[in-house]
């Protein structure tokens, strides 16, 4: 393993120190341990605060989505581990502009436990909190158990929708409902080509033989639906797109937005080869591809691989996704 590291145990803290040193105009710490971070101008008076968080190792998820028209605050855990409820609470306090706070994060057990605890503590302090979990990975549970699915790159769209609705002055319930509406119209699926190495473990989280791929992989290297020989890019794009299309029930005439996301070690060039094929499939199927996002939106350290996210658009989602957003990491990409 070759990494730019001083000490595995201080990996996350040094990452955050670097980000705060570089982006002090946009971000500030909301707790003495730097594990709660908010927009430099937070809280935003009488706007709903959007708080997210989770384990480290996925940049720009989660910290990279703190910015105008996106999240107000974030709580940052160790690599692939939840932040503590105290860290979530610290981010919540500094994100509360008086209109309540919406928790938006991926559906992972440890995060749910700690965010739920933080929500209880915040309510005791008089802050109204609601939660919407993002659960977009279609291969992690069947459609009749959608709520059990894990959250992956669709988080990027959830932040955009929540942040845009909040910036327009929507109420807490309205912002929550907008994200739930997005969830009902969004699906993702990933494919892994090489594993992640946790800095503190120093070992790959899984092994893939040369020439193998893991179809349906999660952003922590969770096993997918099958492992097999690496297919040509077009076949992979076809499988991802067909699986999500079936799950969403896409039909000719539907309008969609698509995100082709790199998992950390796959070059942009290859992502555009996948995006090319998705565009061809849409043309062939009479599906209107309104916008394609290509880049690293949710990663898994140095995992090679990609994920595809599809959002079925209506006027409401189209409007929210078109609103301005800015953050040091993803402003121009959203």
């Amino acid at each position: 393993m070759k990494k730019f590291i001083n000490d595995p145990d201080s990996f996350v803290d040094e990452v955050i120190e670097g980000i705060l040193a570089v982006h002090s105009d946009a971000l500030r710490a909301a707790s003495p341990d730097n594990r709660a971070i908010v927009r430099a101008d937070a809280p935003i008076a009488s706007q709903v605060g959007i708080v997210t968080g989770g384990g480290s190792g996925h940049l720009p998820v989660f910290l990279g989505y703190v910015g105008q028209g996106l999240c107000t605050g974030v709580a940052i855990g160790n690599v692939f581990s939840s932040p503590s409820s105290d860290q979530v609470l610290a981010a919540t306090r500094e994100s509360n502009g008086g209109a309540g706070v919406l928790f938006v994060y991926g559906n992972y057990g440890g995060d749910v436990l700690n965010f739920d605890d933080a929500a209880e503590l915040a309510e005791e302090e008089g802050i109204t909190v609601r939660t919407v979990l993002v659960a977009d990975d279609v291969t992690s549970a069947p459609a009749n158990r959608r709520d059990d699915r894990r959250g992956v790159a669709g988080l990027a769209f959830a932040y955009k929708v929540a942040g845009a609705a909040a910036a327009q002055g929507a109420t807490l319930d309205e912002v929550a409902e907008a994200v739930e509406h997005l969830n009902a119209n969004m699906g993702s699926m990933g494919v892994g080509l090489s594993p992640t190495i946790l800095p503190a473990a120093g070992e790959p989280t899984f092994t893939l033989d040369e020439g193998e791929m893991e179809i349906g992989i999660g952003i922590h290297g969770e096993r997918g639906v099958r492992r097999g020989p690496l297919d040509p890019a077009d076949s992979i794009a076809d499988e991802l797109f067909a699986t999500i299309s079936d799950d969403l029930g896409l039909r000719s005439g539907d309008s969609i937005a698509v995100l082709v996301n790199g998992l950390g070690a796959t070059p942009l060039e290859e992502l555009y080869i996948l995006a090319r094929r998705v565009s061809q499939r849409c043309n062939a199927g009479g599906i209107i591809l309104e916008r394609t996002y290509v880049g690293e939106y949710a990663t898994s350290l140095e995992m090679a691989g990609a994920s595809l996210t599809v959002v079925r658009l209506d006027d409401r989602l189209r409007h929210l996704l078109a609103q301005p957003a800015s953050s040091p990491f993803v402003g121009a990409m959203l």
Binding site: S81, S82, L113, L198, G221, E222
Partner: protein
């Protein structure tokens, strides 16, 4: 056993858990994200730090509360959070004056109930509960001197049995049938803790 003696027992057990990191990481990586080894070693180290800082004449209840708090904050993953809230709830709800087998079993019952409630899980879902609940049954059915070995035997058998099923809860459930044959990492962590109490 008094509080100071209990703190020493927990300190020794947590020191022994340091060597389980690789095994637990590998088990967890089969079906999850491979961070359980880090959780257990960091959390056990945090418990040791707090045990060393306890005052004299500390009660066993306070020892367990402090240990539970430390275990849950070092690396607050699902496992650490659930175990921590279970241990704290058990310490608050039961009497640990003597730290007798009967007291520890009653304490363990509250731990299991809390984990089941907060984790929305039950025995047979392929979680720590699969080892915890049978180990309490076995300890209860045996004499003071034989309780720990009976608990270890029961937990070992339960883990082997549930290795053959697919997980129904948590990250491992996403792996579905591909997790069949892999022993549950959380239940194994609990077994290693029991063994470390020997």
């Amino acid at each position: 056993m008094n509080g100071t003696q209990l703190a020493a027992v927990l300190d020794t057990a947590c020191a022994r858990l340091a060597s389980t990191g690789d095994e637990l990481r590998e088990l967890d990586a089969e079906v999850g994200d491979g961070d359980l080894g880090i959780t257990v070693t960091k959390s056990a180290a945090a418990v040791r730090t707090r045990m060393a800082a306890l005052g004299a004449d500390v009660s066993s209840t306070d020892v367990v509360l402090v240990a539970g708090e430390a275990f849950g904050t070092a690396n607050p993953s699902t496992f650490a959070s659930l175990v921590s809230s279970g241990v704290k709830a058990g310490a608050k709800a039961t009497d640990l004056t003597e730290v007798s087998t009967a007291e520890v079993v009653a304490f363990g019952r509250v731990v299991a109930e809390t984990i089941a409630r907060r984790g929305k899980s039950a025995v047979g879902d392929k979680t720590i509960l699969d080892a915890l609940v049978p180990s309490l049954d076995a300890a209860e059915a045996n004499s003071e001197g034989a309780a720990l070995e009976a608990a270890i035997t029961a937990a070992t058998a339960a883990i082997a049995e549930t290795a053959a099923i697919a997980a129904k809860k948590g990250r491992a459930a996403w792996a579905g049938d591909r997790g069949i044959g892999v022993p549950d990492a959380g239940a194994t962590a609990y077994l290693r803790f029991l063994e470390a109490l020997r």
